[in-house]
């Protein structure tokens, strides 16, 4: 654990300068601040709430100069104190650091620092001088004692925001919102496309971890980040002119071919990044179209197929190939890939098999019984026109996640006379997106909470109903969570023509065999190193649902980027290198640096924009997209709600920090 020589954090001053190192207590709250990378001690840490110095040799002036230099670089330039103040403080600190200015300069620095703290427009500006002002207030003697020229220090700075940290893909959300305000939505799209290719898809179906972390929640409602993303992506629709072979900066040796197995969000994202890095990439896909669960698992009324296709087509525009109809485990093995000359592989085969309910008389082959994803595949084929189907009678869907919501809303559109959702817990416990639940309710789905299936009823060789049982909530456990248990004697037969089990998915058992040499984990997923996504077999990486279990689109795309970085490192260095930004994130996360936060100043309430939607009575009969794109005027208004909660963090280290993969 780190020992604080001196510092200020949240206004609490620590001063152990009079003590020897062994006399200082280790700071119990500070985690992982001893070393940055192996053999490289952290000497000081600076943030928006103060600073810690762990090594008395640290130059405070130089460290503050580094911090302010980054703040000046991050200033959006809109407000006066931040635009000029950060740069003027930086320049003054630089003069002091170089020994070109004396003590008299501090009065100016202090006035500018106070101006920033008290009057800047956004969180970045207001907090950029926190560490400086804390040092001036409590450790002025240290600053005055330092005489330039001061020796060069090592370290790095990192800028982030709660929404960025919450996003699996670490998309720079405030930046793309800023570009909307600036009037440059194409640049906004560029920011998103730095991370993944499926911007319009994500703008429609993302679960929005960013919005949960949004500090605007503390004022009124989160910024409509997903809505803005969709605006951005739809504003500039033509991906074919944006992506060509020419945008690839430098080609890799042509024999460094990479196989991506699975054309879902993880695979497409990985292929995209590898292609941009210059590798020849083939994507092997079991079906005859790209998109994975985004194509077959998300109904067209939420994600139109042409929108998805325009984004998966980017792979071909960049020179990648989709090899359709090639299923791992049926048509080829992992070893075959290396035999075919691929030098590395990314497995992103997803979780293609529905989980069973585990109830009496459950027979997956019984006509009328379907798993959620099999049903959604059927819906997909119906909409695509390849296999038209109609439902009749009443339909029961079991489950409480987004797949279950997709199933009930699709079942209505497929002609069911009534659609019931059966969920064993309460509405509040449902993992599905609130907006999806609301949309299903509006469209007339009948919800049965605290209800569970107990047995399948078959008649004349097909499903005829399901025995349902009431559930009761148990008392809260030690962590405050309530379980559920069946109410004895509440069983009754519920007649229905179709039962859809939408309670989960798993990796198809036939995909990975023992001959592949890929270790699986106890949940039947591919075992991977969480930081590199390496599997137990050299040169083989895995990500997305097949490694994590059923998860989100954004998580899968984040894995795709991570895998591409790892594969790039593997092919160039034979190992995956240290990644400094991930280390910084780890420090922020472990110490909850971004957590203790409130909105300090009174802020005008202004509620968020909502997508125009089709009338529920109309939309429940068709598969056309329900939500529409917002207008530019609405986008400007919504973008202006962003509080721009950027914060700058920096570490001073004893040694230079090794350059990781970009």
């Amino acid at each position: 654990m780190a020992r604080v020589v001196y510092g200020v954090w949240d206004g609490i001053v620590q001063d152990n300068r009079g003590k020897r190192l062994f006399e200082m207590a280790e700071a119990p709250d500070l985690k992982g601040l001893d070393t940055f990378n192996e053999g490289n001690p952290i000497q000081a840490f600076f943030g928006d709430r103060g600073f810690f110095v762990f090594d008395r040799r640290v130059s405070l002036i130089d460290a503050l100069w580094r911090y302010m230099a980054r703040a000046a670089e991050e200033s959006c330039g809109k407000c006066t104190p931040c635009r000029m103040g950060t740069a003027l403080i930086r320049d003054a600190l630089e003069a002091l650091r170089k020994g070109e200015a004396g003590e008299e300069r501090w009065a100016e620095i202090e006035a500018l620092g106070e101006q920033l703290r008290a009057s800047a427009l956004c969180g970045l500006g207001r907090n950029s001088a926190s560490a400086l002002m804390a040092a001036l207030t409590h450790f002025r003697d240290v600053l005055l004692a330092e005489r330039g020229p001061l020796p060069e220090q090592h370290g790095m700075t990192y800028t982030t925001a709660p929404c960025i940290e919450a996003c699996p893909s670490k998309v720079n959300v405030p930046r793309y919102i800023d570009y909307i305000k600036d009037g440059e939505p194409t640049h906004s799209l560029g920011v998103i496309l730095q991370k993944y290719p499926m911007a319009a898809t994500c703008g429609r179906v993302c679960v929005r971890f960013c919005e949960m972390a949004c500090r605007r929640n503390l004022v009124d409602e989160a910024v409509g980040i997903k809505t803005l993303k969709r605006f951005i992506a739809d504003h500039q629709r033509s991906r074919s002119t944006m992506f060509t072979r020419d945008v690839i900066a430098a080609a890799q040796p042509s024999d460094l071919r990479v196989a991506v197995v699975g054309a879902g969000p993880a695979g497409v994202s990985c292929a995209y990044h590898l292609l941009l890095k210059g590798y020849p990439v083939d994507v092997l896909e079991a079906l005859d179209e790209a998109g994975g669960m985004a194509a077959t698992g998300i109904p067209a009324y939420r994600l139109p197929k042409d929108v998805l296709k325009s984004e998966t087509d980017i792979i071909q525009a960049l020179g990648g190939r989709f090899l359709y109809g090639r299923r791992l485990g049926r048509d080829f093995t992992v070893s075959d890939l290396f035999a075919e000359g691929y030098k590395a592989a990314f497995l992103a085969v997803g979780c293609a098999q529905g989980s069973r309910l585990g109830v009496e008389d459950e027979d997956p082959s019984l006509p009328g019984y379907l798993s959620g994803i099999d049903f959604l595949l059927m819906v997909h084929d119906h909409v695509a026109g390849t296999r038209p189907t109609r439902l009749s009678g009443e339909v029961v869907v079991v489950g409480g996640g987004n797949v279950a919501m997709d199933c009930v809303r699709s079942a209505l559109r497929m002609g069911a006379s009534a659609v019931h959702l059966v969920y064993r817990r309460t509405r509040e416990d449902m993992p599905a997106d609130r907006e999806e639940i609301k949309a299903a309710e509006e469209e007339g789905v009948i919800f049965h909470y605290l209800t569970n299936p107990a047995r399948i009823v078959a008649r004349d060789g097909r499903l005829a109903g399901v025995v349902l049982v009431d559930m009761r909530q148990t008392e809260p456990d030690g962590r405050g969570r309530r379980g559920v248990q069946p109410v004895a004697g509440s069983e009754r037969v519920f007649e229905c023509s179709t039962l859809i089990a939408a309670i989960g998915q798993q990796v198809d058992r036939g995909t990975i065999g023992p001959e592949d040499g890929i270790a699986m984990d106890k949940w039947g997923c591919i075992a991977v190193d969480p930081t590199t996504l390496a599997t137990s077999r050299g040169g083989v990486f895995a990500g997305g649902d097949c490694a994590s279990g059923p998860s989100t689109l954004i998580h899968a795309m984040a894995n795709g980027l991570k895998a591409a970085r790892s594969i790039d490192d593997y092919l160039n260095f034979g190992r995956v290198r240290f990644f400094p930004r991930s280390r910084m994130r780890q420090i922020l996360n472990e110490n909850k640096m971004l957590a203790a936060d409130c909105v300090e100043v009174p802020t005008m309430h202004e509620y968020r924009v909502h997508h125009p939607e089709l009338d529920p009575e109309v939309r429940k009969q068709m598969f056309e997209e329900v939500e529409q794109t917002i207008t530019a005027a609405e986008a400007y208004r919504e973008a202006n709600r962003c509080l721009r909660c950027y914060r700058v963090y920096s570490v001073i280290t004893e040694q230079p920090i090794p350059a990781g993969c970009a």
Partner: protein, 607 residues
């Protein structure tokens, strides 16, 4: 909370009733407490909170220490104690203005806004005594865009208030302006890094009307006018637009909306103008041409027809909706019509060599400068109109020439060929005026008698898009008309027409909200947007009411023009001289993701 559930705050110790919806600034203004502002402009609902000058200290109930807050965008809350003049507030406001000057061109004497500048006002208010952070090197890096014949953008004087962006985006719906750069390099630019002339800008000049400093201004052409005035070989022919006479009174200290036509004429004579003509005369000619053209098009079943008087609207159509161009009337604008006749008919009548004539326009408009240099309006190197100055330049010109308007003896037109005008020509300067003028004449052309109830009140609303049905009679019957002012509303109408969802026969467009009475070339107001439009408009209607001839076809000089020179409206000769053509100027920019990534800053680049 005070008794009875009402809410109250205090400002400088004085209680102020509040309703929970206001900002501190609104409450302070309402209760007579002055707070300096720069970026804020309430008329366009603009409070971006970027200048940070409107600082106050405020304490919420129970709070020990006061917070420094910006008044323009912070809600005033129940029990809040606001202080606007504490030492801390004053010091921070002073430092804020000092920081604004750190990268500001301080060469005030050379500035187009000298003496009329909101930044100077702010500096005076905060008691600015020094400017420690100013750096000429920083200032000189800033862009000055002189590419447009109409508007100059001088980023050395920009304080990043973003009023221009808001007016262009929200009021006009053009959205040509973007924020470029970050940090110290933040500036306002044109989309896709283009120069003003090549950009989406339509040069309406509404951005100029809201700029608090000299960062936006018209291209100053007064020197050219002086050159012409003092060249003995040149015959100067002046014209001034309908809206000039009702928009210049403030310069004399007269109330807004006063008709100062006689003073303007007197000032022109004092300047040494050889011939003083009236654009209103040309407006009457335009009614004859456009009205006749419209009836012809209606008979051919071609509809709708858009008016073509407004050059910013023409720019808008050519740059943003080229598909609409076939629907535009081919009749030249009054400015170009006058220029054309002044270089053909007038010299013939007056016995002057046309080569010696220079036509000088005084316009309430920046786009008229752009119009005058359209290739369609320059023949063998000779422009129809040689130089266009805005009212602001006219005011500047008079000062330069030492002419004190207040002391001038009022004067009147004396040109027997091109200075008389009807009431119809006079109302060209306001939204709905062109329509009303055209209706008066078309009714006569169709029925052989004058329209009863001349003043078409149905056409006189102030909504940004108005529609009406007008019974013209004759073989045409009833027509559906629309009048748009402001380009945001115009865009809706154009899109509806192109989509086939709107059925109109005749559509009048004026790009500026209010029409020419609040065009982008008028005198500037501080901290206000189009404050005088309605008064000026009423003044135009007043001029109309006092005219004996209230219809363009009853203008005797117009009748003579046709009799002696053009034969009849839309004759071959009239067509050759008084009609024009349009060209699509839409700009399609395609950029690859690499181009975009090259431009992106402040986001970690992966490639």
């Amino acid at each position: 909370m005070t008794s009875g559930g009402t809410m109250e705050a205090t400002i400088n110790g004085k209680p102020v009733r509040i309703d929970g919806t206001e900002t501190i600034l609104e409450a302070a203004r309402r209760s007579g407490h002055h707070i300096p502002t720069l970026c804020e402009l309430s008329d366009i609902d603009h409070a971006p909170g970027t200048c940070r000058v409107c600082l106050v200290e405020a304490k919420r109930p129970g709070q020990a220490e006061a917070m420094v807050l910006t008044a323009c965008n912070t809600p005033i809350e129940d029990g809040m104690e606001v202080r606007t003049r504490t030492r801390k507030v004053r010091e921070m406001q002073r430092l804020q203005v000092e920081l604004l000057l750190a990268d500001h061109d301080r060469d005030c004497a050379t500035c187009i806004r000298h003496g009329d500048c909101e930044l100077q006002d702010a500096a005076r208010f905060v008691g600015l005594a020094q400017s420690r952070f100013h750096d000429t090197g920083r200032v000189n890096r800033r862009l000055v865009d002189r590419s447009s014949p109409a508007i100059i953008r001088d980023m050395k004087k920009c304080i990043r208030c973003f009023r221009c962006v808001t007016i262009c985006r929200e009021e006009q719906g053009i959205d040509a302006l973007v924020t470029v750069g970050t940090g110290m390099e933040t500036a306002i630019g044109l989309r896709n890094g283009l120069a003003q002339a090549a950009s989406d800008c339509v040069t309406c000049g509404q951005c100029v009307m809201v700029c608090p400093t000299g960062a936006l201004g018209e291209k100053d052409d007064t020197e050219t006018v002086v050159d012409f005035l003092y060249d003995p070989e040149i015959v100067t022919v002046f014209q001034f637009a309908p809206a000039i006479r009702v928009g210049f009174g403030e310069e004399f200290g007269l109330p807004p909306g006063t008709n100062v036509e006689p003073q303007v004429i007197a000032a022109l004579r004092a300047l040494g103008a050889d011939v003083v003509l009236d654009t209103n005369f040309a407006a009457d000619v335009v009614v004859m041409e456009e009205g006749t053209e419209l009836l012809g098009r209606l008979r051919e079943g071609r509809r709708p027809t858009f008016t073509s008087c407004c050059p910013a609207w023409i720019n808008f159509a050519e740059k943003h909706y080229p598909a609409i161009l076939p629907y535009l009337s081919s009749t030249k604008s009054p400015q170009q019509t006058l220029g054309t006749i002044a270089k053909s008919y007038l010299p013939e009548k007056m016995g002057i060599d046309p080569a010696r004539i220079r036509v000088i326009s005084i316009m309430p408009c920046t786009a008229k400068k752009d119009e005058a240099v359209r290739p369609q309006f320059i023949h063998d190197g000779v422009p129809e109109v040689d130089v266009v100055i805005t009212i602001r330049e006219f005011a500047r010109l008079l000062r330069r020439e030492g002419i004190d308007l207040a002391k001038l003896e009022p004067s009147a037109f004396d040109n027997p060929y091109m200075s008389e005008y009807s009431g119809a020509g006079a109302i060209f300067g306001t939204t709905g005026g062109v329509m009303e003028a055209a209706v008066r004449t078309m009714h006569y052309l169709l029925n052989g008698r004058e329209l009863e109830g001349i003043e078409a009140t149905a056409l006189r609303g102030f909504e940004s898009v108005r529609t009406a049905e007008v019974a013209l009679g004759g073989d045409i019957g009833t027509v559906r008309v629309a009048m748009c002012h402001g380009l945001k509303g115009t865009r809706e109408v154009v899109e509806a027409v192109l989509a086939g969802t709107a059925q109109f026969d005749f559509i009048e467009v004026m790009a500026c909200p209010g029409g020419c009475v609040d065009g982008g070339g008028h005198l500037r107001s501080k901290k206000a947007y189009v404050p005088h439009a309605r008064k000026r408009r009423e003044a135009l209607y007043g001029i109309d009411r006092k005219k004996t001839a209230r219809q363009s076809h009853n203008n005797a000089q117009v009748q003579k023009l046709y009799r002696d020179y053009l034969d009849r409206p839309c004759s071959d000769k009239a067509h050759h001289l008084l009609h024009t053509s349009y060209a699509a100027r839409e700009r399609v920019v395609t950029r690859t993701i690499r181009d975009i990534w090259r431009e992106i800053t402040m986001s970690t680049m992966v490639y």
